[in-house]
């Protein structure tokens, strides 16, 4: 459902951050992209969402060439993206953002459903402004809720576990599993090097130095990367 063909990216005169990457991501698969920090994982995710334009190569989504499509068009085709570092908005409330994400008016019950999935009580949060009064962990959960509210075909999560304070991995994993159950044609891509997320992957792609180093089903790839920076165990606080 998603095909990257010879994708390269460089920011100005510097060396390529992504070097001639070709990938096929199948429908209804849970794919985790891992690899060492600075290897190009997040850049690749941003290229798929349209936030960064590749310097070379083509991207196909459900058979359509989306290489020249802007972020908005890709979003409307059904691509969702959860930022690694969510953005703050002075004046916009959690409810406002969820309504924008859902593309319709929401009642309290519907909004509550999205927020409770990410472990937040709607009563406490729905009217909160998305400003500096929210912690990084709260913002991150709201960010994930916006992707849930969108009902997308392809959901991309850029390091969703980073900064999720006391909330456990188990809940995050429940979210991914629920998203898959809800829609049989849904594909999920998660950027993460956390072993517990890798453990639920169908496919794993290892990206380092801007290139695909390994790609395959979890059972084949996991033994090779366990204990390396590509598969880090959970912090004791998160267990």
């Amino acid at each position: 459902m998603l095909e990257l063909k010879n994708i390269s990216f460089n920011a100005g005169d510097k060396a390529d951050i992504i070097k001639n990457v070709s990938l096929n991501i199948d429908e209804n698969k849970f794919t985790v992209i891992t690899g060492p920090n600075g290897g190009g994982k997040s850049t690749l995710a941003r290229i798929i969402a349209g936030i960064i334009k590749p310097t070379d190569g083509k991207i196909y989504f459900c058979g359509n060439d989306i290489t020249d499509m802007a972020i908005t068009e890709r979003a409307r085709l059904g691509i969702g993206f959860a930022f690694q570092q969510p953005v703050r908005f002075k004046g916009l409330s959690v409810m406002d953002l969820l309504k924008i994400a859902a593309g319709k008016e929401l009642n309290m019950d519907e909004a509550c459903k999205y927020l409770s999935e990410v472990g937040l009580c709607a009563k406490d949060y729905i009217n909160r402004e998305i400003n500096a009064s929210l912690s990084g962990g709260e913002l991150k959960r709201i960010e994930i809720a916006t992707v849930i509210a969108r009902d997308v075909k392809l959901a991309i999560f850029d390091e969703p576990e980073a900064g999720i304070d006391i909330w456990s991995f188990k809940n995050l994993i429940n979210i991914f599993e629920k998203m898959r159950r809800e829609r049989s044609d849904r594909t999920i891509i998660v950027i993460s090097h956390q072993e517990r997320i890798l453990n639920i992957a169908d496919d794993i792609i290892v990206i380092a130095d801007g290139q695909v180093k390994k790609k395959g089903i979890r059972e084949t790839i996991m033994p090779d990367i366990i204990g390396t920076p590509s598969a880090v165990g959970p912090c004791h606080k998160m267990v």
Partner: protein
């Protein structure tokens, strides 16, 4: 008494949310003349005899009542200065809705300068809403220069909401307040300027009484070639607390000068100011676009939220 026409009706709706005559006391002014008045047992309105304007007297203990005093100008070339004085007794709880709407389709300037003086009695609670709005495509300018003076007695509180979002070419707003013991003033200002509009907003708030407090928050957006100056000064003369915040977005060739200032004349005065000016952050637009909004829609949502 003047009859209200359709344009004036629309202006009344814009500035005071009036779709019909309000409940409670009111004084409607259109093109410099009285267009409707109602007093109640507790709220009296009298026309001044020495100059243009009204005296409003609110009896002590008046609670859960409202007063609407909107002004509209729909003729080109009217220039007026109106003095409205509010004498509010002790222990009141009243909503006051003011505001001015100008529709100018002509070539002459239309100007309304409203000078409002509030004398707020002990322990009274006032909520004051003032909206400014301009429309019409004439070359004549729409000018509003409001002056608001507030004198607050012990334990009183006032919440002021000042809104000017559209269509006013030039405005110079002055707000002066003096607060006695334990009095509390909250100001929320929202301002947006377009085209070549100019807006100046000047505050001078003196915290004279022990335990008095002021919180002035201004959110503003300057678009196109417009210019804004926000000058918020809090003076602490006692053990008091004051906070000002000027938060602004500039777009296109908009220019904003923010001059927050504090003067502490007492060692127990706790005064804080914040000011921030910047364009809409690129990652805010990007985030909303990943949710399916176009860049323009994303911008509108950010602006509407900011000025909410």
């Amino acid at each position: 008494m003047q009859k209200i026409d359709e344009i004036q009706k629309r202006l009344f709706e814009e500035v005071a949310d009036l779709h019909e005559l309000p409940v409670g006391a009111y004084n409607l002014r259109a093109n410099g003349e009285l267009a409707g008045r109602k007093t109640t047992a507790n709220i009296d309105i009298k026309t001044k005899t020495d100059k243009s304007g009204i005296d409003i007297t609110i009896k002590p203990g008046t609670k859960k009542e409202s007063l609407h005093i909107p002004v509209v100008l729909s003729e080109s070339g009217i220039t007026e200065t109106v003095y409205n004085d509010f004498y509010i007794g002790d222990d009141c709880d009243v909503l006051i809705v003011a505001g001015c709407g100008i529709d100018n389709c002509g070539n002459q300037n239309s100007e309304h300068d409203g000078v409002h003086c509030f004398y707020i009695g002990k322990n009274s609670k006032i909520r004051y809403v003032e909206k400014h709005y301009g429309s019409g495509n004439g070359e004549g300018k729409r000018i509003l220069n409001p002056v608001t003076e507030v004198y607050m007695e012990e334990g009183s509180s006032m919440e002021m909401e000042m809104v000017q979002i559209k269509g006013v070419d030039s405005t110079e707003r002055k707000t002066i307040a003096k607060l006695d013991k334990n009095a509390k003033l909250i100001v929320r200002e929202r301002l947006m300027t377009h085209g070549s509009q100019q807006a100046l907003s000047i505050y001078k708030i003196e915290l004279d009484g022990e335990g008095s407090s002021a919180d002035v928050v201004s959110r503003s957006i300057a678009r196109d070639n417009s210019y804004q100056k926000l000058d918020a000064c809090i003076v602490g003369n006692a053990a008091c607390s004051g906070h000002t915040e000027c938060d602004s977005i500039i777009m296109d060739n908009g220019k904003i000068l923010a001059v927050p200032s504090l003067q502490a004349n007492n060692t127990d005065a706790m005064l804080v100011h914040e000011a921030a000016i910047g364009k809409i952050a690129g990652d805010q637009l990007t985030k909303l676009m990943t949710l399916g909004l176009s860049e323009q829609e994303a911008e509108e949502h950010i602006i509407n939220g900011f000025l909410k």
